[in-house]
């Protein structure tokens, strides 16, 4: 069981963000961390790894206390059983593929896991290659292999696939899944990609403005949601009165949509506010493109 309850005041781009999160994660679960940028996802991951010190709270992994502000316990990152996969890979340019993974092991550790990991990540043929010669996808495979080589209790992945093209991404997702199920590590992945979240993880932490808004299986959050069936979420752009109706402009995904609505509930809607439009009653028109 991994438990954390953390508070931290963060200096974000638009003022101060108070991160206040509390969560319990079952062993060997694969969890996703989802939310707008600036919601505190990376900070949460960095606090779990020990790179950033929380103001208050507690981190407990398998009954091992990593951080406890009341008892002034703060285990250094070196002594936390953590694997961290960075967005920029953070591979050591002075070492080749094999040396990067080998670096994770101590002097007396068995080297057998290296062969196993090279096999699982499909890097066997590239073991002597310099890091600079690899593609983004290959680099992230090395970073992944390096992060699990010590068999950590907690694997933290900070948007590991965001810089990788689609085809390579689904390939890597498969590798991630097989590594996760093989080593039975508790993993937390930061991701913006709903497909990825649904494919990889069993539960999603939805972080919003520093607070956990939802902690549920991704299906409940993103799909088949009773709210989602007949409503549309997006960003409010403008509203103009047109007869007895209002013409509302809404940004959803990459598209701007114009919808005729009744008078909006909230009078003081501002550009950029998150809104939900529901389609109860009147049927909509569909056309194949």
């Amino acid at each position: 069981m991994t438990y954390f309850s953390l508070q931290k005041r963060l200096h974000a781009a638009d003022g101060i963000l108070s991160l206040d999160v509390k969560c319990e994660i079952e062993d060997a679960a694969f969890i996703s961390l989802y939310g707008a940028s600036g919601a505190g996802k990376t900070s949460l991951l960095r606090m779990l790894a020990g790179f950033m010190q929380p103001d208050n709270g507690m981190i407990k992994v398998n009954d091992e206390v990593w951080f406890d502000s009341e008892n002034k316990i703060n285990i250094v990152p070196q002594r936390r059983s953590v694997g961290f996969v960075f967005q920029d890979y953070a591979l050591f340019p002075n070492m080749n593929v094999e040396e990067n993974i080998l670096f994770a092991l101590g002097k007396n550790d068995s080297k057998q896991i290296i062969e196993e990991l090279l096999e699982m990540t499909g890097l066997r043929g590239l073991r002597n290659k310099k890091i600079q010669m690899l593609s983004g996808g290959q680099k992230q495979r090395v970073a992944l292999a390096r992060a699990v080589a010590r068999k950590p209790k907690l694997l933290l992945l900070d948007e590991p696939l965001s810089a990788i093209d689609n085809e390579m991404r689904s390939n890597l997702q498969q590798t991630l899944l097989s590594i996760h199920s093989h080593y039975k590590v508790t993993a937390i992945i930061v991701s913006h990609d709903i497909n990825e979240i649904v494919k990889l993880t069993s539960k999603t932490i939805h972080l919003k403005n520093g607070i956990i808004e939802e902690y549920a299986p991704p299906n409940e959050i993103f799909l088949n949601n009773s709210r989602a069936q007949n409503s549309l979420k997006g960003l409010f752009l403008s509203a103009e009165k047109n007869g007895s109706m209002y013409e509302v402009l809404l940004l959803t995904g990459e598209q701007v949509i114009k919808i005729n609505c009744n008078e909006p509930d909230a009078k003081d809607l501002q550009k950029g506010d998150e809104i939900e439009v529901s389609f109860k009653g009147a049927p909509a028109f569909l056309r194949k493109l």
């Binding site: 790894a49 790179f51 990152p77 070196q78 961290f84 960075f86 953070a90 050591f92 600079q132 010590r150």
Partner: protein
């Protein structure tokens, strides 16, 4: 014929200064490059002072400090039987202080140019700060280390003011080549001055050429 002693003395001084500064500057630059606080800003000021102060100012205060009539000089003489004023040891300390920025600055800029994630990745793999410094950080700033070494060596060869103030001009002990040029000119021995000067130019050009050449080679291999 000219004396070769001043040239060897110059090389000896430059060699020792470079070695001392290399091992001194790595921990110093590492400390400064970590999270900033007011002490570190102050340390940066001290490190950079020799760049802006006239060498005679540093030389003057070092001379005062080393003088046996002052407390620090007296302390050294009473307890360690060491007199630094007008000695090679004093010269060496003066050079180390005077060339400090030439070693610290390249190493510092090398360290700060590395992404933080390299260091954090190493920590998350269970490596200590020392292991991280030796196996991850330093091997990835080789061009900066080389620049620091070469600039320090070359700069010590070109040192004049500090040496003159605290070293004086004792043959075989503190009479380095740059001072020898000055002495020969004063004695109107232009021929000898010319030889010393030409040797200094040749050494400096060679060193700088080797620096730029090998840094270009390193850049070709390394793409971060």
């Amino acid at each position: 014929m000219i004396e070769t002693a001043p040239i060897f003395l110059t090389l000896e001084l430059a060699f020792l200064t470079t070695i001392i500064l290399f091992f001194l500057s790595i921990p110093l630059a590492r400390w400064i490059s970590n999270k900033k606080n007011i002490f570190k800003t102050f340390a940066e000021v001290i490190v950079s002072l020799p760049l802006v102060l006239p060498p005679t100012v540093i030389g003057f205060y070092l001379l005062l400090a080393f003088s046996p009539t002052n407390s620090f000089g007296k302390f050294l003489e009473n307890y360690f039987d060491v007199r630094l004023a007008f000695s090679f040891g004093g010269l060496l300390i003066g050079s180390v202080i005077y060339s400090l920025p030439f070693m610290v600055h390249p190493i510092l800029s090398g360290l700060t140019s590395l992404p933080d994630s390299l260091e954090e990745a190493s920590y998350s793999l269970g490596k200590t700060k020392t292991q991280t410094l030796l196996s991850v950080l330093l091997p990835n700033i080789k061009p900066s280390l080389l620049t620091g070494i070469v600039l320090t060596f070359a700069h010590t060869i070109g040192e004049f003011g500090v040496v003159l103030m605290i070293g004086g001009n004792i043959p075989g002990k503190t009479n380095v080549a740059s001072i020898a040029v000055y002495d020969e000119v004063e004695a109107l021995n232009y021929h000898n001055a010319n030889i010393y000067a030409a040797v200094l130019i040749a050494i400096s050009v060679t060193i700088l050429f080797l620096l730029y050449f090998s840094n270009r080679k390193l850049q070709e291999v390394k793409i971060l």
